[in-house]
């Protein structure tokens, strides 16, 4: 390894240990690495800090943060809990499912796992304690389930990844995250369910809703969505073709109608996801514009319709958004300089050679990468980890024939685990705070849930279609591009060859 690489890594590690802000550590490591080349670094690093964030795609991040703040403060958690309770509340261990489902939805809408733990946990943990569920169990469920919202779109960390990875479509990442997020959520529910049944936790009946007016409104609203989506050619409902269209139309409308009856309380809130995802898929607007529309929508909803936020609270929310954005953006600006100098110093190639020298088997290499990332995730936050390790590992895995979108999902699913592991786990800290318990007490109960997350990660890693099927179906990725990726397909063709 050259001097430049050594300086880069040494400065970075020393500054990290000193608890210097990570963005500063990255920028200064780059600074000294360029200095080691014998060039004056100040102007280069400064220009990278500004130009690294000079991107329209990145603008989606402040908007999603802002709409998350607006929705999160506007009684979102309570509404989603009501919705989840109508769906799964009655099952044995039902409150655990309600908690998981709410966390998934909340994390998706607010885009923040930490906010999901504090908001959903703030309601659900005391409620579950009252119903006789174990406190540690409740904290463990909330903490782990909250992270799934980062995989379910819209998600800021995916935007960060697509910027770090270069030419990865944000819309494709969004679509790719859906199934992995659901899988992780289901695995957590499964573990939660088994523990609930063993311990005899009970469900809770929920009152029925007035369905006639709800059905009428729902039918009209969803027909409009249907027509928009069909004319935009996102999904072919077929009802424009009159021959067999009517059957589909009636079935679809009935489904929508049924959904609305259950969704009624959370309908306007959940419509946000439909607007954002539908808008992006339909080519109506870009991810950034969709995020801006989401801000306007959530502003109208929480300030005008639900009136849970007063006008005088808005400046503080804007300020919080500005600061949260700046923290992420400073990291992105600094990393854009670092990834450039890393390429200059051949660091990705060195790591790649080392990993490929370790084994020829893609399964082993992926396992190694996953383990490395898991260790990193235990003490580093998600955004810097994605920014630092994407340029290092992405060239390795593309050599293995992995699609960049698939790797992005693996990376995020992996670092989600780190959010709820000691010693440094943002979600775990908040969860323990809300549940008034200590990390030491929760850890034993958390272990089966880690098992669930790791199992989900393995499925996501070794079954590429979990990530790649939906983006191809929604035409966000070209089928032939995905076909070209040989990861986890090599084995089959080799097996076929030996059969012959």
């Amino acid at each position: 390894m050259g001097v430049v690489a050594l300086v880069l890594i040494a400065v970075f590690v020393v500054l990290l240990i000193m608890n210097v802000p990570i963005a500063v550590a990255i920028a200064l490591a780059t600074f000294f690495a360029i200095l080691a080349e014998g060039v004056d670094p100040s102007i280069m690093v400064a220009a990278k800090m500004a130009n690294g964030v000079n991107s329209f795609a990145l603008l989606a991040i402040p908007f999603f943060i802002l709409s998350g703040h607006l929705m999160g403060k506007g009684g979102l958690a309570r509404r989603l809990i009501d919705f989840a309770a109508t769906l799964v509340g009655r099952l044995p261990g039902g409150l655990g499912y309600v908690n998981t489902l709410t966390c998934m939805l909340f994390g998706s809408i607010s885009g923040s796992a930490a906010a999901a733990v504090s908001s959903v946990g703030g309601f659900m943990i005391p409620e579950m304690n009252r119903k006789g569920y174990g406190n540690e169990f409740n904290v463990a469920v909330t903490t782990t389930a909250a992270t799934t919202g980062l995989l379910i779109p819209p998600s800021n960390i995916m935007i960060v990844y697509s910027v770090a990875a270069g030419s990865v479509s944000i819309a494709a990442m969004f679509m790719a995250g859906f199934l992995p997020g659901l899988i992780t959520g289901l695995f957590i529910m499964l573990v939660g369910g088994i523990i609930s049944i063993i311990r005899g936790y009970k469900g809770e009946a929920v009152e029925m809703l007035k369905w006639k007016p709800a059905a009428a409104t729902g039918l009209i609203a969803l027909m409009i969505v249907q027509i928009i989506l069909s004319t935009r050619g996102v999904i072919d409902f077929g009802f424009w073709k009159l021959s067999n269209g009517m059957v589909w139309f009636i079935i679809w409308s009935a489904v929508c109608c049924a959904c609305f009856i259950t969704f009624r309380r959370a309908f306007l809130t959940l419509l946000l996801i439909v607007i954002v995802i539908g808008g992006i898929l339909g080519g109506i607007f870009t991810a950034t514009e969709a995020a801006a529309i989401a801000v306007v929508y959530s502003f109208l909803l929480s300030v005008v319709v639900y009136r849970e936020i007063r006008m005088k609270d808005v400046p503080q929310i804007l300020l919080d958004t500005g600061i949260t954005t700046a923290v992420v953006m400073l990291l992105i600006g600094a990393s854009s300089g670092m990834s450039w100098i890393m390429t200059m110093a051949n660091i990705p190639q060195t790591v790649s050679a080392a990993l490929l020298g370790l084994s020829e088997n893609p399964i082993i290499i992926l396992l190694t990468i996953n383990l490395l990332l898991m260790v990193v995730g235990t003490f580093m936050d998600m955004t810097p980890a994605v920014l630092i390790f994407t340029p290092i590992f992405l060239p390795v895995v593309t050599q293995l024939g992995m699609h960049p979108v698939h790797f992005g999902i693996i990376l995020i699913a992996n670092l989600c685990i780190g959010l709820c592991t000691p010693p440094v786990g943002t979600c775990l800290f908040i969860g323990c705070g809300v549940g008034k318990t200590s990390i030491a007490k929760v850890t034993a109960t958390l272990l089966p849930f880690f098992g669930a997350m790791i199992a989900a990660l393995m499925v996501i890693t070794y079954v590429p279609s979990t990530s790649l099927w939906l983006p191809v179906k929604t035409k966000q990725l070209k089928a032939e591009d995905v076909e070209k990726c040989g990861f986890m397909k090599v084995d089959k063709t080799e097996a076929a060859d030996t059969d012959k």
Partner: protein, 165 residues
């Protein structure tokens, strides 16, 4: 003297926060205006995207400075937490000195050079026809605020050491 400085700092923070709030609000309006012009007027105003990008630069860098003031940046506090309390204070001071160097060398000095270089070239932005150098002014300006906040953090650490003895 100290009281005057404190008042000045409070005023500065208030002004900086006000600018941030206005910029974030403007960002939302600007991007929505872009969508509106595209769908209602049939043609998107070319300047909306450019303005949005420049606003993002300013929000990011100025907000970055504010975040230093409230210690909002992400760090890895695991290792430092293992040290003796006195050593922790020393480390915190050292970390702030590092930040001071970062703000001075990269943001103020490097930023000023970026500004002057870009102004000399005379690069104009495509849609708005602004001088790109002025957009980069965000670097040295937020750098100065970073220096102020970091010095304040340093003074705080030193004072607390004296108070503890």
């Amino acid at each position: 003297m100290a009281a005057v400085l404190l008042k000045l700092k409070a005023w500065m923070t208030k002004a900086l926060n006000g600018v941030l709030i206005a910029a974030v609000a403007l960002l939302v309006v600007d991007v929505c205006w872009g969508v509106f012009t595209r769908y209602v007027m049939g043609e998107q105003a070319g300047w909306t995207e450019e303005l949005a990008r420049f606003l993002l630069i300013w929000v990011s860098l100025l907000g970055g400075a504010v975040a230093f003031g409230i210690k909002g940046h992400l760090g890895v506090d695991y290792f430092v937490g293992k040290f003796h309390p006195e050593a922790q204070k020393l480390m915190a001071a050292a970390a702030n000195l590092v930040v001071l160097f970062f703000a001075g060398a990269i943001f103020v000095y490097g930023g000023l050079r970026v500004v002057s270089d870009t102004l000399t070239i005379g690069q104009l932005t495509p849609a708005l026809q602004w001088k790109m150098g002025y957009v980069y002014l965000a670097l040295p300006i937020s750098g100065i605020f970073m220096v102020i906040y970091t010095v304040e953090n340093l003074v705080e650490i030193c004072c607390s050491t004296e108070g503890g003895e």
